[in-house]
């Protein structure tokens, strides 16, 4: 009872928390800006696949909990699911990712090291990264969800802020520890900038400074069993983000498939809410001084 009371109190505590979101519009590409230490970002996103003829429409929602452990280390937990038209809805697994900034200061090119463990199944469709060869979309969820994959994914993230533009390049290597697939490769490139660079004095929702827009390009590069563009999916995706309030933002992307192995269109929506000083508040609430 005491615990429930504390949890309710904590929910009230975070509901009144106020902080900036400053969300990047990217869905797939990572830049070098990490979560601020002690802040928690809760995000919910959905990938909607518009299929080719003969394939089924699917919806893949996922939830992200991103926490700034230190100024140079951000950790993130994902929970994901998938629903296919005329089939079923299934839980497709979880991911735990960590991003580290080895360099202390801002440089012309800022490297970030990314390491992720994925405990997912083959029904996963969130497509947070595209690696290896294009996945098949033919089998039913009942079969796909029985095939589990323990995957280790690494990325080298290089990102630069040039005036008001952010340019980011991600090089991806993924290994499925549950199957003999070799190492799979992929890439993601992104560019974005805010629509307004000077902050107005007024608290406005629709000011240009609250919007940022850009473009992503991402796809698979085969694997050690066959490197290259053959039988791979590639997308080009305009992206836009709107900071609705000091602590919430919306993102949207409409990716267009560039190869026959890609979905013709991937629509992505995201909403995120940031809680500043989450770690300190949690520590205070559960007894000890931060």
């Amino acid at each position: 009872m005491k615990l429930i009371g504390r949890i309710l109190l904590f929910a009230l505590f975070i509901a009144r928390a106020d902080s900036p979101a400053q969300e990047s519009p990217y869905f797939v590409t990572y830049g070098h800006h990490l979560e601020e230490p002690g802040n928690l970002e809760i995000a919910t996103s959905t990938t909607m696949g518009v299929p080719r003829s003969g394939q089924k429409f699917y919806l893949a929602p996922y939830m992200e909990l991103e926490y700034g452990v230190t100024g140079r280390w951000t950790s993130e937990l994902y929970l994901e699911g998938q629903s296919t038209a005329g089939d079923s809805a299934v839980f497709t697994g979880w991911r735990l990712e960590n991003r580290f900034r080895p360099l202390k200061r801002e440089h012309r090119i800022n490297p970030v090291l990314y390491l992720e463990y994925e405990g997912i199944n083959e029904a996963s469709r969130i497509q947070k990264e595209i690696v290896g060869n294009a996945p098949g979309f033919g089998e039913p969820n009942s079969e796909l969800s029985q095939t589990h994959a323990h995957e280790l994914e690494t990325k080298l993230i290089l990102s630069s802020d040039v005036h008001n533009w952010n340019l980011a390049e991600n090089f991806i290597v993924e290994k499925n520890l549950s199957a003999e697939e070799g190492f799979e490769f992929g890439y993601a490139l992104g560019v974005n900038r805010p629509l307004g660079t000077l902050a107005s004095a007024a608290n406005c929702r629709f000011c240009r400074e609250n919007f940022s827009a850009g473009l992503e390009l991402y796809g698979g590069l085969g694997s050690t069993n066959g490197f290259g563009f053959h039988n791979t999916a590639h997308y080009v995706a305009p992206v836009i983000a709107w900071q609705i309030s000091d602590n919430a933002s919306l993102r949207f992307s409409s990716a267009i498939g560039l190869t026959h192995e890609s979905n013709p269109v991937l629509l992505r929506f995201g909403y995120s809410y940031e809680i500043r000083g989450f770690g300190a508040k949690l520590t205070r609430l559960f007894g000890s001084n931060p």
Binding site: P37, E106, N164, P194, A199, P290
Partner: protein, 130 residues
Amino acid sequence: MTHGTRLSVTCVFVSLGAMLGQNTAYQPDPGWRAPAAAAFKPNPLAKRPEAAAGGKKLFLRNCTECHGNDGSGIMKKHAADLQLPVVQEQSDGALFWKITNGNPDRGMPSFSKLPELQRWQLVLFLRSLH
């Protein structure tokens, strides 16, 4: 005012500051210094004082969690008291560099994700704090 009186007054102010959570005892990190080239950069908004109002909005959004609404620094967070001469005497370029790079090992995050002009707006607003 005698030496003893001055000491007492100082002690009272320091205690009052501590009670209010202000970081009057702030000591800057000696290793956190802007390179000379960055420190000499002039503020491109220096002739637009009206831009400080936008800087105030950014400050309230991004900085008050640690520095407090008046910039005096929250002691628990070990955040700088931005009103102190040791901060205010730094050049615009040096403050801009510090906002851009942060000092992650001492808890100050980098704000390079803000557009360049908005970081200069923050510098402009910081000047109004002393």
